[in-house]
């Protein structure tokens, strides 16, 4: 039997699944990344420090806020720039906005069809109108929050080296807080619908190393050290010893490995490492879904995203309260003096830990750049999961094998086009 899923749908970018089996035995199964390389790291070289976030934000239309923040953190580390507490709070809020946008997009539009046994979200408009309506509402509020904090719904203009460009008004923050509060019930409704259909998520488990940011003070998204379920904490500056990128023939994206053959990043990794710092609403939903650490079922990444949506929602409300209580200050924009330096920025974006690493010359012009994208770090693990998962499916009809393998890839919420930027292309003249 052969299963070949060319250009898997309902994921971002292009990837294929190829499976060969004969007389009930698996011969090979492969996750192939076929997306063309993107070369961002090459074209930021020669650009001044204040343009890097602007450019690298365009690596991804979904994680543009995360790329911007990782980029700013790397630049600020390199130039020795500190940002104010208020700016850091606004940036955390920005990151929550992205987490909300991205998770609801994935759960609501890309995964829900699998759970309801539909081919896409469109039939659900007929069969589950209330759920679709709620999903769109949550998505909309997430976008509004991003628009307020970032200046745009994607590709932020408000996040700049040294802090933020402009502090949102008290009135607008109060308004968005009210909307978020109103969303809690909507979120509970959506989570209930997902829970009612969660039995469609396959019960599969494979021991895995999980990597995410870890912090003593918060559910680490904006700040923290690198944490691994196998090896504990590592400083962000040592990221290369964690990601260990390598090239495989079937993929235009690089793969990563750390303590084992592969590791996983993303919502499930964060949950497994930092669950005790989640907000009460998030913890409550984790319990209802039966999600307990350390959970090694990659399909539960979908559930971890639901849980994190609750976290980002509740924590955004708390953050806005904190900011309003402190009183908003109209801070002057920092004057930056360019200098030579090297800096690494790490951030948790919806799909996992993201690193940007820049070297600047004395004029503040980028001399070297490296970005390690979450989906890159997951490709190896997707492959390993497939090798373990596929043999359990072989007695089923071809279409069902296909669907299950597709669901596996989709559970990782891969952002394939972002992950293929790293390839070096050598032209033979």
């Amino acid at each position: 039997m052969k299963v070949h899923v060319e250009h898997l749908t309902r994921v971002e970018g292009h990837g294929d699944i190829v499976l060969n089996a004969g007389s009930g035995k698996l011969e090979s199964v492969q996750w192939r990344v076929t997306e063309a390389p993107r070369l961002f790291e090459s074209f930021v070289v020669g650009r001044p420090y204040h343009q890097l976030a602007q450019i690298t934000s365009r690596i991804c239309g979904i994680c543009s806020i995360g790329h911007t923040l990782a980029s700013l953190k790397a630049t600020e580390a390199a130039l020795g720039v500190e940002i104010s507490t208020q700016s850091a709070m606004l940036r955390r809020l920005a990151l929550h906005a992205e987490n909300l946008q991205s998770h609801i997009l994935h759960i609501g539009y890309l995964v829900a069809p699998d759970l309801f046994g539909a081919g896409s979200v469109f039939p659900l408009i007929e069969t589950h109108p209330a759920a679709v309506h709620n999903i769109v509402k949550l998505h909309r509020i997430s976008n509004e929050m991003s628009d307020l904090v970032c200046g745009r719904t994607t590709h932020p203009t408000n996040l700049v080296v040294g802090g933020v460009w402009k502090v949102p008004s008290e009135k607008s923050l109060i308004e968005i807080r009210q909307k978020l509060v109103d969303c809690v019930d909507t979120f509970n409704d959506v989570a209930r619908v997902v829970l009612a259909n969660a039995e469609r998520l396959p019960a599969f488990s494979r021991e895995t190393e999980y990597v995410a940011l870890g912090s003593e003070i918060e559910y680490a998204l904006y700040d923290g050290a690198i944490a691994s379920t196998d090896t504990g904490r590592h400083p962000v500056d040592d990221y290369r010893s964690v990601v260990n990128e390598f090239v495989v023939p079937q993929s235009t994206a690089k793969y990563c490995r750390h303590a084992r053959d592969s590791y996983m990043v993303g919502a499930l990794a964060r949950f497994n490492l930092n669950h005790d710092k989640l907000t009460p609403l998030a913890k409550q939903w984790a319990r209802k879904f039966g999600l307990y650490p350390v959970n090694c079922n990659p399909f539960m990444n979908n559930v971890a995203q639901v849980v994190e949506f609750g976290h980002s929602l509740e924590d955004s409300i708390a953050l806005i309260n904190k900011m309003l209580n402190r009183g908003l200050k109209d801070e002057a924009r920092q004057k930056i003096t360019p200098k030579a330096g090297h800096g690494v920025g790490a951030i948790e974006v919806p799909r996992g830990i993201l690193f940007h690493d820049y070297t600047y010359n004395d004029k503040g012009v980028c001399a070297k750049a490296n970005c390690v994208i979450p989906t890159n770090q997951n490709h190896g693990n997707i492959q390993k999961d497939m090798e373990a998962f596929a043999p359990t499916l072989l007695d089923r009809p071809g279409r069902e094998i296909e669907l299950n393998l597709e669901m596996l890839v989709r559970a990782y919420d891969p952002c394939i086009s972002c992950s293929t930027h790293c390839m070096k292309v050598r032209f033979k003249l």
């Binding site: 650009r47 602007q54 200046g151 745009r152 203009t157 460009w165 402009k166």
Partner: protein, 230 residues
Amino acid sequence: MMPAKTMGVKIKMTIDGKEYECEPNQTVLDVAGANGIPIPTLCFNPLFASHRSGSCRMCLVEVVAGGRPGLQPSCTLPVSSGLSVSTVSKQVYRARRLAVEFLVSEHTQKCRDCPASGGCTLAKFCRDYDINGVPVCSECPNQRESCLLKRGVLCMGPITYANCNAYCTRKGYRCEGCHSTLVNEDVLRFGLAAYRDAGFRAEDILEGAEVFAHDKVSILEAVMKREGML
């Protein structure tokens, strides 16, 4: 191919209020062409007449009766009895103009280097639809003192294609030029004057334009030279 028995049966449709006889397997574009009614096209090529993608949006017509009302590409719109379309309505003009505008916003218009120079359909459409592009400033509510340039912020608005309703500058953020740099020399000259008055350096303006309009920097540079800014 149509089944043989429908061949030869003529049907009637209306274009711009006038009735025409046509074959059932024709499209509106075919009928217009056969009767000398001009409909602009870019992606349609008579050599590959069977391949019609409707993707350039230049051949849009407005269905007024006998079909789903609204704009539709005439190259893929099959004729039907009683169908009535307009090729000249205001909506049609606006939609076609927008299509050209989008196309040229991504186009360098280095006409002197282009082999099609002189015989370029796109350039003709720019003239037909009166497109030079206007800068973000034309949509921006920041007047005089609240203009970012007055506050020492290098806003790319003066040399960037409008159409976003000044999304960023309206909210007080600088325009980073994401709609790409304008290419019409007269328009650019006007924008550059705003920079000069506010005391910005040519190098910084060029650096700013590089991010989203790398391909147009040479045009900008040439205009700057002629204006004595470089």
